[in-house]
Symmetry: C2
Subunit: 341 residues, 2 copies
């Protein structure tokens, strides 16, 4: 009797799957993948054997992520431009850094949420690992403007930080700049936001509304997944301006990597991360969708179709795990002072 019940339950489950098979199967064929629902499987995706995730590293990496003393001035943290309260971005066209410097390439800050699923990091894809990416904005003159030596001197001057590095990496740890960036990367790996879209692809058909399913169909049908695929719905290098010229291309010097390739931004939490595109010139999701249709796919996407896709894109807004705002250890007399110049 027990086994019969289980059999019937499984059969019912299969029936549900069959009913949605076409949409989910289409998605799968177009290389879309959900964030794994199984925590062990998810862990195997986000973990990096070069610097495996542990509770101690997450706690330390979180502190460093929020610590403005990683910048020359002492007032800009990773979270300033990749604000976990605001979808992992700063919500401005071009990020502002040290001395109120606008990013010289007029680049818009990509979201840190789910960045672990990107195959490459940074708009020109020059970092493949979050652990390496984190070094870049800290040192960039237009961002946090700190030398690696300054960062190491600041962190090692604070006994609580030294203690936490020992806890995380063993008592003989050598606290290098690379190590500091790496543990920030470990924290960033945990910033994944499963959404109704994932629940749907993981078999729960009820998580998408009728309108969202319609929008999903349009999204698949238009060919958006040529670039926006994988768990990240983006995060790989793609040719930009395949079919037409992007209307704001002249703004900023950014032209992609040496092959003119650009990292496709993730679509996860896209409804929270305006403005859009590498130079943040498009504020509305509708405009962004239509512009992409024209620039990348060479098609006209109607207003109505764009509205449907926006419905779908709202299903990509994910659940953020609660983050306790850290209490950072105080500086000491040995800590290099903030430098505002």
């Amino acid at each position: 009797m027990k086994y019969l019940k289980i059999f019937l339950l499984l059969a019912a489950g299969a029936a549900i799957l069959t009913a949605e098979e076409s949409l989910a199967q289409k998605a799968s064929k177009q290389r879309l993948e959900p964030i794994p629902a199984d925590i062990q499987v998810l862990f195997s995706y986000i973990n990096d054997e070069n610097d495996p995730i542990t509770d101690e590293k997450i706690a330390l990496g979180k502190k460093l992520y929020f610590d403005p003393r990683l910048s020359k001035s002492g007032i800009i943290s990773c979270n300033t431009c990749h604000n976990l309260a605001l979808g992992g971005v700063d919500g401005v066209e071009t990020s502002i850094g040290h001395l109120w410097t606008m990013n010289p390439n007029h680049l818009n800050a990509p979201t840190v949420y789910n960045s672990v699923f990107n195959k490459v990091q940074l708009w020109d894809g020059r970092s493949s690992h979050l652990e390496v990416q984190a070094q870049s904005p800290i040192q960039s003159e237009a961002e946090m403007a700190a030398s690696s030596e300054l960062v190491v001197a600041r962190i090692t001057s604070i006994p609580e930080y030294v203690e936490e590095f020992k806890k995380a990496y063993g008592k003989d740890v050598n606290i290098t700049f690379e190590k500091i960036a790496s543990v920030i990367g470990v924290f960033e790996r945990t910033l994944v936001t499963p959404s109704p879209y994932d629940d749907f692809l993981n078999g729960n058909e009820k998580t998408l509304s009728k309108a969202q399913k319609e929008g999903f169909e349009v999204f698949l049908q238009k060919g958006c997944t040529k670039c926006h695929y994988g768990i990240a719905l983006g995060g790989t290098m793609q040719q930009f301006q395949v079919a037409a010229k992007y209307r704001f291309i002249e703004l900023g010097d950014f032209r992609g990597d040496k092959y003119g390739m650009v990292k496709t931004p993730t679509l996860r939490n896209i409804a929270e991360t305006a403005p859009y595109f590498h130079n943040g010139q498009i504020w509305s999701l509708k405009d962004a969708i239509r512009e992409m249709g024209s620039v990348q796919l060479g098609i006209k996407i109607s207003d109505k179709e764009a509205v449907k896709m926006i419905e779908f894109m709202h299903s990509l807004t994910g659940r953020k795990q609660p983050i306790t705002y850290p209490i950072l250890p105080p500086s000491t007399s040995k800590t290099p002072k903030p430098d505002m110049n």
Copy 2:
């Protein structure tokens, strides 16, 4: 038998109190008061009947406190300069605001923690309420540089915020700039940090080490409580440079209020809130203590005495309640854009 036991316990308690009576009594005579241990009594201290504390207001005020969209640029929040991760301050000599502008008076950001216990707010004491104080940095050109109209337009363009204001103040709420600042003030009222010092004054003699008690004796004996008294150990207007000239007085234009009076900073969490004084020119607690002795009290405080007082001051480092970093509602097409100029 039961009553005898209780009697003996009470007697033992009284004995402990008697042993420490002299120090605690001296403190009380010098107008020092602990943060009340009783939560009801504490609530009556921090609550303001003009805008009573509720859970809904704390939640909303917290979001606004962390929301950089309250600034003209969209990248500076209350928390930028009053960072809850860093003792409620920014850890720099002079706060940096819009366009990387240094505070024109070279003023150092005071801690927001326990600011509810200050009798007045701002260095010149021109605000008596946190609810009014919060208006000032938002509008200041050198700080967040937002007009009241801009702030109201940003907040009312975001439906989730409007909903939260209705929940907090009723469905007919008029979301004015004053209301926005006021609910931030309500959140700030809750940022109190009871410390070992309070536990000691509340009757638990074991919370202070021998060295801290010695330092406390020196602190009382030197007359620091002439200005640093009350729950805040500060927070009232006092004459500055009573006995001598402050050696960095020429830096910045600040000369106090129209009577030359200056708000005494709280000593709570002082070990976490360097640099010190209104223009942030003194980085070490020892220097600060000795300078105060000379400038305010006209006495020489020895190195040894200062070290003892530092021991005591560490007992003023309080327990911060865990704060979940908020997830802020996204902007809409109606939200006024960031303005970097």
